[in-house]
Amino acid sequence: MNKGKLEESFFLGLMLFSILIVVGSLFAIFTVVILRGLPALSISMITQTPKGGYYLGKEGGILNAIVGSLFLAGGSTLLAILVSLPIALYIHEYLGRARIANFIRLSLDVLWGIPSIVYGAFSFTIMVSLRMRASLLWGIITVTLFLIPIMTRAMDEVFKMVPQKVKEASYALGSTRLETVAKIVTRQALPGIVTAVLLSFGRAIGDAASVLLTAGYTDSIPRSLFDPVATLPLAVFFQLGTPYPEVQQRAYASGFLLLILVMFFSIASRISAKKFMKYTIT
């Protein structure tokens, strides 16, 4: 075998190995969560709120956390889209290659790197100074804050991929910059935007630290934005912390449900992205 071929197969092997690690660990997590959680998994887990307290309760379900997580992740993802999309479009289409654009990108990258507990502490400070209590609203605000850098940078990368000739086609027909951005650029980038939103949603639903201080925890489903709210990651955290094996089992069952939720949204958004992709110019 010659040197080139040897190199080729070496690096091919390396890549396969890396893929194996990723797929393998996903598989391992699934196995552990299912094996340990299965005994506790029942219909009542997803249809009832806890009985006997979330910390020690062995009965009832975690509907409070499922609904809470969906409210929190859904609300903050929507709010983050409203903020991130204009930022990404602005730095990309209006600032162009101006130095300030790169400064904003750098700031966002730094924000991306800040642990979510810091966002939690930050919001907590403001919340307390306003004499407010931990609630769904403050949970959403906190999660939105740490989603913005993730979503904006992901969208920014997506807009970079929009070919110049597509924009030229639009300008050549006499459209304004706003029309080009709103109707053409966004449309061309739509599949990528969906991915960016999904990525953020995954982070929002899976994060425990930022909501620990700001969203509180409760056994009931919130009836307003000002009620405290339970979340799945915190449910797992509290249940795992108990000394009772039955409750710990419930933690794994909760984790399993969280995985299923994330997977469901992943697949759903991928299917919808495909639908838009057929118009995309390649």
């Binding site: 030229e168 006499g174 304004t176 118009y279 995309t280």
Partner: protein, 246 residues
């Protein structure tokens, strides 16, 4: 009509003191070797060069008696009146219908019936109607590349321009599709002023009424096609036509 047009990209002087006259309702070819500024000249006519990094223009391009570089010019109106066909088909990420409807829609056409009619007319004008009338809602990228370029032509026509700028519109097409485009342009010259960039001399000879020859950013010669090809004045033109360089 162009007077003393100079274009710079940064420090690079791309077009040097160009002054040309473009006759109405006929085909004017801009020829010359690659990198001589043909496309730049074309794109200054609808100010699409504004999108280029660090471009500076001096001089005047008069359209309808007004300088298009004037600050008072409504650039969207200018680009509506001066259509562009690009080198490779540059579709919008939409359906066949959507591609043509986009232009009229942004310029305020809302009536669905009128819009449908415009789309049919434009597709008829480029001979695409019978090929696509059954699948107007399909993504435009599903068309063959020749059909895509005709769709781009139809799209340009949909906003009712007065001038059509064509930047080597056939260079990415197979000979048969290229011929179809050429035939349609030839028909369209009765109603539109067409400016056509090409680097194939035979194409210029087939199509044009008037020829502009650029070399290294300078205007070497301009004149009616007949005279240009049979009796060029400048020795460089003669050499280029005979295939000595370029």
């Amino acid at each position: 009509m162009v007077q003393n047009l100079n274009v710079f990209y940064g420090k690079q002087h791309v077009l040097k003191n160009i002054s040309v006259d473009i006759p109405e309702k006929s085909i004017t070819s801009i020829i010359g070797p690659s990198g001589c500024g043909k496309s730049t000249l074309l794109k200054s006519f609808n100010r699409l060069i504004d999108l280029m990094e660090g471009e500076i223009c001096t001089g005047k391009v008069l359209f309808d008696g007004k300088n298009i570089f004037d600050e008072m010019i409504d650039i969207t109106d200018l680009r509506k009146r001066i259509g562009l066909i690009a080198q490779t088909p540059n579709l919008l990420p939409m359906s066949i219908y959507g591609n043509i409807a986009y232009g009229p829609k942004i310029h305020g056409l809302k009536n669905k019936k009128e819009l449908d009619q415009t789309i049919e007319d434009c597709l008829q004008a480029v001979g695409l109607w019978n090929e696509v009338k059954e699948r107007l809602r399909e993504p435009a990228i599903k068309l063959s590349i020749g059909q895509q370029q005709r769709l781009c032509l139809a799209r340009a026509l949909a906003v009712e321009p007065e001038v059509l700028l064509c930047d080597e519109p056939t260079s990415s097409l197979d000979p048969i599709s290229a011929k179809v485009i050429e035939e349609h342009l030839f028909k369209l010259k009765k109603e539109y002023t067409i400016v056509f960039v090409t680097h194939t001399l035979r194409q210029a000879r087939r199509l044009s009424d008037y020829v502009i020859f650029l070399y290294l950013g300078e205007l070497i010669e301009q004149g009616p096609a007949e005279q240009f090809f049979t009796n060029p004045k400048d020795p460089r033109t003669k050499e280029y036509i005979e295939g000595i360089f370029g």
